[in-house]
Amino acid sequence: MIPIAAVNPVAKLGAGLIVSLFLIVTIDWVSATTALVLELVIIAFMGIEPKRFWLRTLPVWIAAPLTALTILLYGRYEGEVYFEFLLISISDGSIELALATFLRVLAIGLPAVVLFISIDPTDFADGLAQRLRFPDRFVLGALAAVRMVGLFLEDWRSLELARRARGVADRGRLRRLAGQAFALLVLSIRRGSKLSIAMEARGFGGSQQRTWARESRWGAAEWLTLLVGLLVGITATVVAVLTGSWNLIVN
């Protein structure tokens, strides 16, 4: 089993980006299929609980056919035409392009989601700041904000119930939601300013050079992760070029 959870999040992000780079310069079904097959083999060895896998990747499984459908109906007009109605046309060209797009969304989306479900926000922030030298203030501010999301959800729920209790929840749903969203914004700004006082009081944002309690490790596993991403991308490209289906998207 591949212990992917222990790998530095920055490396996971990098691997995902590398694969996507190889896949977005071309639009053909061979490269996408090759990448997808390799990825599925790797994912199978990651030991993700099947239920969790399907649940988290569900959006990708929904997005891929929807994107493909759009391309099928409005895509490249080429070869034999099977159906035509106003702007809609289904032809050999659009079928091929739709299939390529379907596979491509899966090949880019699935690894991205799978790599990200194992990312801990704190480790990710450590990686961004210590490895990629992102500014401390930005990274830690964002990290603290992420932690508040749970509070926002509770606030939203309370706001909703409170509107029912105040007798204004029967009509004007759109207007009410807008008002509620505004109230949430006000509440979150207040929470945010209290949090920033708490952070400042603990010396955050001072001129002192900051140290890091947790080291963001970078070693063989991280290089290997990047290398796997690179290999998947290269293999997909080579196979596509050899079969003659590789086509640079700018053409």
């Binding site: 801990d120 926000p121 704190t122 990290l143 603290a144 932690r147 749970g150 509070l151 606030d155 309370s158 706001l159 119930l161 409170a162 509107r163 029912r164 209790a165 105040r166 007798g167 204004v168 929840a169 029967d170 008002g179 109230a183 006000v186 509440l187 207040r190 929470r191 209290k194 949090l195 006082i197 708490a198 952070m199 400042e200 009081a201 603990r202 010396g203 955050f204 944002g205 001072g206 002192q208 050079q209 900051r210 140290t211 890091w212 309690a213 947790r214 080291e215």
Partner: protein
């Protein structure tokens, strides 16, 4: 606040008192160096260890009232380490300090424990540990126990004392409830509302000389407890709501065992129990706002008055005259930009005549001492004023059942006794009051019947 002359010696433990609006919080924030130069005006000077407070950040630690707003990171150990990191402490030393601080404040949980899984009292002690790890010379605490249940109050107080004794740090604490701190501080300073110091000295001295006046201004003084209302004899009681084999919860899972209860008119029912037992959830379920997980909340024909027997299926407008709910956080309930408009929301939804509406609103404004604030924005009110307004908005539609979630949380003694008197009168006049509360004194004074959730 202006014209304050005060000198605090190293190692002193000072309790700072004064009525709301005397500027106590602002003063503490200034001490901690977190009031920016662009936030308001200042005159005179404030020095910590002979220096500008902002230069001393890290030498002064601040703990504030709201437990949720001062947890910074996701894991306990990281949160305690945060201050040390900012001060540039080397990594190995950080973790020594983290363990030592957690030991001292007695928070015995794993370093990778999620901070959101902690109770209110634990979160406050966590904040204290984070401050302690910076090895401050001065610790300032702004109502650190106001939002906690009785167990949490003791936890936090004892942790502060342990820290003070172990480190010799100077302590300045602001709190309405004097009894929590009076035995453990060695100096009490009373600030005047306009500025300056009213009294300053040993706790026993100051409290015996100034106690009565302080109590009248809303400070909790054990020797001068707020008055309890006289209760009148009540009329005949009848059933308004019945909980039948009621299971309640936020998700699909029920909290606790099925629950049977009759809610009567002219009755005050208190719901108590530790944090996380589901008190608020039960209250919201009885209030017709959350659907029961199982069983039912059934309204009597007298209460339903044609609206069907399940409050959860009532229209929002139908709830108004039947069951009113006052949320724990008043800000969740505010809908408009003035106090008067806020009070008009309910009557307007009921389509009352303009004359009737302004009668009711004016009466409530006077009764709850909000008349001078009629044009103010609800969000700018003080904690006590917000609480009074949120209760008033529910009363404006005269519901037969009033549900309140922690109505006395963080309130000064004046608002506390006003609320108590108001609710007692409602009950004596035939309404039913259901109150979730940690506040034992409040429950004692008001409740006819108590549900304890485990």
């Amino acid at each position: 606040m202006r014209g304050l002359d005060l000198r605090i010696e190293p190692g002193e433990r000072v309790l700072l008192l004064g009525e709301s609006g005397a500027g106590k919080s602002t003063f503490l924030h200034a001490l901690a160096g977190v009031v920016g130069d662009d936030e308001g005006e200042s005159e005179g000077s404030l020095l910590v260890d002979g220096q500008h407070p902002a230069a001393m950040r890290g030498r002064t630690g601040l703990v504030i009232q709201d437990p949720d707003s001062q947890v910074i990171l996701e894991r306990v150990g990281d949160d305690v380490a945060f201050g040390c990191e900012n001060l540039g402490v080397p990594r190995d030393e950080i973790w020594q300090r983290v363990r030592h601080s957690l030991d001292q404040i007695g928070l015995d949980v794993a370093l990778d424990r999620s901070t959101s899984a902690l109770s209110g009292g634990q979160k406050q002690r966590l904040a204290l540990a984070g401050v302690l790890a910076m090895q401050p010379g001065l610790i300032v605490l702004d109502e650190p126990t106001a939002n906690l249940d009785p167990a949490g109050v003791t936890e936090v107080r004892d942790a502060v004392i342990r820290v003070a004794e172990a480190t010799g740090a100077t302590i300045v604490v602001v709190e309405h409830r004097v009894s929590v701190w009076s035995d453990v501080v060695d100096r009490v300073v009373v600030l005047a509302a306009g500025g300056g110091v009213i009294a300053d000295g040993a706790p026993a001295d100051v409290l015996s000389r100034q106690g009565k006046e302080l109590a009248a201004r809303g400070v909790w003084i054990p020797e001068f407890p707020p008055p309890h209302p006289e209760r009148r004899t009540r009329g005949e009681q009848h059933t308004l709501l019945t909980a039948e084999r009621l299971a309640f919860g936020r998700a699909k899972t029920a909290l606790g065992a099925p629950f049977d209860r009759e809610i009567l008119s002219s009755q005050a029912l208190a719901i108590t129990g530790p944090n996380g037992a589901g008190k608020s959830t039960l209250a919201l379920t009885l209030g017709g706002l959350l659907a029961p997980v199982d069983g039912a909340v059934v309204a009597s024909p007298a209460l339903a008055a044609g609206a069907g027997e399940h409050p959860i299926r009532w229209k929002s407008r139908e709830l108004l005259t039947r069951i009113g709910t006052v949320f724990q956080d008043p800000e969740h309930q505010f809908l408009t930009s003035t106090v008067r408009a806020e009070l008009e929301v309910g009557p307007r939804a009921l389509k009352l005549s303009t004359a009737e509406m302004s009668d009711r609103v004016d009466e409530l404004l006077t009764r709850l001492r909000l008349d001078k604030l009629a044009e103010a924005n609800p969000f700018t009110l003080s904690g006590g004023e917000k609480r009074r307004l949120s209760v008033a908005t529910a009363l404006a539609t005269r519901p037969q059942v009033l549900v309140l979630d922690e109505p006395t949380f963080g309130q000064d003694s004046r608002t506390w006794s006003e609320l108590l008197a108001l609710l007692a009168r409602l009950v004596d006049d035939g309404s039913s009051v259901i109150a979730v509360s940690h506040d034992l004194e409040f429950v004692d004074a008001l409740a006819d019947s108590t549900v304890v959730l485990e």
